[in-house]
């Protein structure tokens, strides 16, 4: 199915919540409001025409100028092979972008829709501070449990020391700001 058709189905089902679609380029996507994102995710997974059963990746983006944090969900729909020794192929491919306010970043969790979202959302929370409401265990996954701040935010300041280990040298402190 062409990405235009997928986005059309999505727009017909959720006319209020799909605010923008991008069909040009190699990364066609729909922008979904965070309030209804969980319902949209269930529809994408369970609709007979779509069957997006594989969440491949969640990318977190920090838009400092627009004061927004973004989560980009890459979805694949797999095609079962006809024969027993055939290979699975990608039938449909689409991306969903969910924008949220940078100062109060809340996005509903889809960890119950796709199990793969569990760790990806923890990573996005760890590095960008996006709060995924309804996540079963929203704790840090990469940094230490007592780490302060979210390192991939563009206004992040490196710590001067951590657990008694000097963290930033004089040279690194004089780095240019982003």
């Amino acid at each position: 199915m062409a990405p235009e058709e997928i986005l059309k189905i999505l727009q017909e089902q959720f006319p209020e919540d799909v605010t923008e679609v991008v069909t040009e380029g190699h990364h066609p996507l729909a922008v979904v409001k965070p309030q209804r994102w969980h319902d949209v995710a269930l529809f994408l997974r369970d609709d007979e025409r779509l069957r997006f059963e594989w969440l491949r990746c969640i990318s977190g983006v920090d838009h400092l100028e627009e004061k927004q944090l973004t989560a980009v969900y890459d979805l694949h729909a797999m095609q079962r092979p006809d024969t027993a020794d055939g290979i699975w192929t990608v039938r449909n491919e689409i991306a969903i972008r969910v924008n949220t306010d940078r100062d109060n970043p809340h996005i509903p969790s889809v960890a119950d829709v796709w199990a793969a979202a569990n760790w990806h959302e923890r990573e996005a929370y760890d590095l960008l501070g996006i709060l995924f409401d309804g996540h079963p265990n929203l704790t840090r996954i990469l940094c230490c449990e007592d780490w302060e701040g979210h390192p991939l935010r563009k206004d992040y300041e490196q710590p001067l020391e951590f657990h008694g280990i000097p963290a930033v040298t004089e040279y690194a402190q004089s780095r240019p700001q982003h």
């Binding site: 390192p151 490196q158 951590f162 280990i165 963290a167």
Partner: protein, 172 residues
Amino acid sequence: MSWIENRFEDNVIITSLDWAINWARESSIWPMTFGIACCAIEMMATGAARWDLDRFGAGAFRATPRQADLMIVAGTVTYKMADRIRRLYNQMPEPKWVIAMGACTIGGGPYFKHGYHVVKGVDLVVPVDVYIPGCPPRPESLIEGILRLRDMIRHQTVARPPETPQPAAASA
């Protein structure tokens, strides 16, 4: 060997004992099975058949710090790992040595400036005896580092260091 260290002057018995102890120590440097990042791949290659670290008695990678003499810190040290490294180092029995292998371990390497969670050198966490530069170092470099470590061990002594002359106490 703390029961004998620093108790005797340098003499012919001590130097003979030194020779025997150092020979034993340098000939069986058992490293800890401990690879953090990509340098560990080169460390594994060093231990395997082509470079064969067992030629130097250092190929018996121990699975516990309590049996290890040498910690080859092979890879990027993060702050999360630094606590573990310090604990593992404290669990190793004396005598123990540390090799810092690769650019990340020596001084942060490519993560020096923007690596927010990379320790800028493992010598901020544990004392390091031999530094091996490279990204990653080739197995020959690691073998060279172990040979340098053997040189260090060979020149150790259990004798008491010569006393430095103290200024005479003022007579009352």
